[in-house]
């Protein structure tokens, strides 16, 4: 063919050889193979001597290593660091033109002979895009070597494309891995959520079952207790005839222990009902003095036995309260019963006063009893906690009384507070609004 004949004519060997190199480069995806072919091509066609083709590491653009070389000792181990911007080769990376360095200016670390050096940027660099690498050719004079610029530009373009391809692949791999990780994390999260949801449901059910169990238990416990207390009460009333003094004393003990047991069961039931949200509010209007009188007469047997001076100090103008009377009474009974239990001598005073400014009432029970150390003052409001909960504790009870008081107070928008010092008595105060909010 005529065109082929022209290309292959010995007078112009370069175009044919160029085509061959271009095809070779296109056929390879390996940067090293491309560089090798280019260097070989130069040696054969441009008759260059020492040649070194450098390209940056994938991880560090300022760290060049040898891709291919010709007649350079130790080229494969050589690396060139360009972190220093003043390095003579650093400038070449951003120039479109090759640069010739005379023998004296060649960086001494380069493993080239001591001739001049032609440094050719690979590709088409500009200030923003640095060269894809450097082609260093030993050249004693600045005269241009034919084909070197063309080869360097062609190889550079190819290397840049390969580099972009590798980056894209890495990016794709990273993106795939990231997506997989996100999927895995999302799945894990969904699993955990489901697990938590199930656990919450199970907890709720267990809690409801516990409440039901305690309610049933308390019913089962109170049924026989009712008969025990009832028969004891009847015997004490002489329904079955007169009693001897020892019989009466024994029966009184059965009676008081039975009542204590009943109180414990009732307190456990109260906690259960509060926890299960099954203790509704019953709001009504009531007066404090009547309520306190009722509390005193309810506890009268204990007051008489205690030999303590129990008195009241009620403010003259106490308003009518709108709230849950039964719950207020239960709290005050509990506070007074505690005072009677923990006071061995002295007095107990029940006080009530009204604060017109914030429309609230304080009902306090003040005693001269054993008092409570500061470190125990919060603990005693917790379930089943007493200052001394040990088996050898001097005071009985469930340790639920104050816990119930605090919960009841919260239900009626009030609160129970304590002022006390060890050995100097205690003052428990129920603070409640004149009008409870209807729920």
């Amino acid at each position: 063919m005529p065109s082929t004949a022209v290309l292959s004519s010995p007078a112009t060997p370069a175009p044919e050889a160029r085509l061959a190199l271009a095809e070779l480069l296109l056929g390879s995806d390996e940067a090293r193979v491309c560089a090798r072919a280019t260097v070989d091509w130069l040696v054969r066609n441009a008759r260059v001597g020492q040649t070194l083709c450098l390209a940056p590491d994938d991880t560090d653009a300022n760290h060049f290593s040898a891709l291919a070389s010709h007649d350079v000792q130790g080229a494969e181990r050589y690396t060139l660091s360009l972190h220093d911007a003043a390095h003579p080769l650093a400038a070449v990376l951003h120039q479109p033109e090759p640069r010739w360095l005379p023998a004296g200016q060649v960086p001494p670390e380069l493993p080239l002979g001591r001739t001049g050096l032609l440094a050719v940027p690979l590709g088409q660099p500009d200030p923003e895009t640095p060269a894809a690498g450097l082609l260093l050719v030993a050249a004693p004079t600045p005269e241009p070597i034919p084909d070197v610029r063309w080869v360097a530009r062609h190889l550079g373009t190819h290397l840049a494309r390969l580099h972009k391809g590798r980056q894209l692949k890495r990016l794709e791999a990273a993106s795939t891995e990231l997506a997989a990780r996100v999927n895995a994390a999302t799945e894990e999260l969904a699993t955990q959520n489901e697990l938590l949801r199930r656990q919450a449901f199970q907890l709720e059910q267990a809690c409801a079952a516990k409440s039901q169990f305690l309610a049933n238990m308390s019913h089962e416990l109170r049924t026989p207790l009712n008969a025990m207390l009832g028969y004891t009460n009847m015997l004490l009333q002489g329904v079955s005839g007169e009693l001897s003094a020892p019989q009466r004393r024994s029966l009184v003990r059965i009676d008081s222990n039975g009542h204590h047991l009943l109180q414990i069961i009732n307190e456990i039931l109260d906690i259960t009902r509060i926890e299960a949200g099954r203790m509704p509010l019953h709001l009504s209007d009531f007066r404090i003095p009547e309520l306190i009188q009722e509390v005193l007469s309810e506890l009268d047997p204990i007051i008489v036995r205690s030999k303590l001076a129990v008195s009241t100090a009620l403010a003259a103008e106490l308003p009518v309260i709108h709230g849950d009377r039964q719950k207020v009474k239960q709290i005050v009974v509990n506070l007074l019963a505690n005072a009677l239990k923990f006071t061995h001598e002295g007095s107990i005073q029940v006080l009530a006063r009204y604060d017109a400014a914030d429309e609230s009432v304080d009902i306090s029970v003040e005693d001269t009893g054993i008092g409570i150390a500061p470190r125990h003052q919060e603990m005693i409001f917790e379930d089943f906690q007493q200052v001394d909960s040990s088996p050898t504790r001097p005071y009985g009870g469930t340790g639920l009384g104050l816990s119930i008081c605090r919960r009841l107070a919260t239900m009626i928008d009030g609160q129970v507070t304590l002022k006390s010092a060890l050995g100097q008595g205690s003052t428990f105060t129920l603070h409640l609004p004149r009008r409870a909010r209807p729920t």
């Binding site: 309610a215 049924t223 026989p224 009712n226 009460n233 039931l269 099954r278």
Partner: protein, 137 residues
């Protein structure tokens, strides 16, 4: 030790409870306090005895076998012949809801067990006095 003469004009109390010890205990104390007492172990028996003997007052436990106390009370209040008999509900179950249900069923008063015999008798006397003051329509 039942010293009071059981005349026909002393009020007749029907005590309904499936728990024998409690039922007999209250019966014994009611008799000791001067009442005549008949007993029933469940709601069905209670209906039968109420219709036959027409007591002055019925003490009705709520959790009962065969027919429970709510149902028995509802039927008593539907029946013209027994409607006028006051029913005092007796419940050992303190979980909320029972007292309102008892009221809905037509109970005239509500007592929570444990209840001492003398407290129950006081309640019986209170209800009977109230009924006497406001005779049935």
């Amino acid at each position: 030790m039942t010293q009071t003469l059981q005349q026909d004009n002393t009020p007749l109390v029907l005590i309904v409870d499936d728990y024998q010890d409690a039922r007999e205990m209250y019966a014994e104390y009611l008799e000791f306090s001067g009442f005549r007492v008949i007993e029933a172990r469940n709601g069905a028996e209670a209906l039968e005895k109420a219709r036959e003997q027409h007591p002055a007052i019925i003490l009705m436990d709520l959790s009962l076998p065969v027919m429970d106390g709510w149902e028995a009370t509802r039927r008593l209040k539907e029946d013209v012949s027994t409607r006028g008999i006051p029913v005092v509900a007796l419940s050992g179950h303190a979980m909320d809801g029972h007292s309102r249900e008892a009221q809905d069923a037509g109970c005239d008063a509500y007592v929570t067990k444990p209840c001492l015999p003398d407290a129950l008798v006081k309640e019986v006397q209170r209800v009977l006095t109230a009924v006497r003051r406001t005779p049935a329509e």
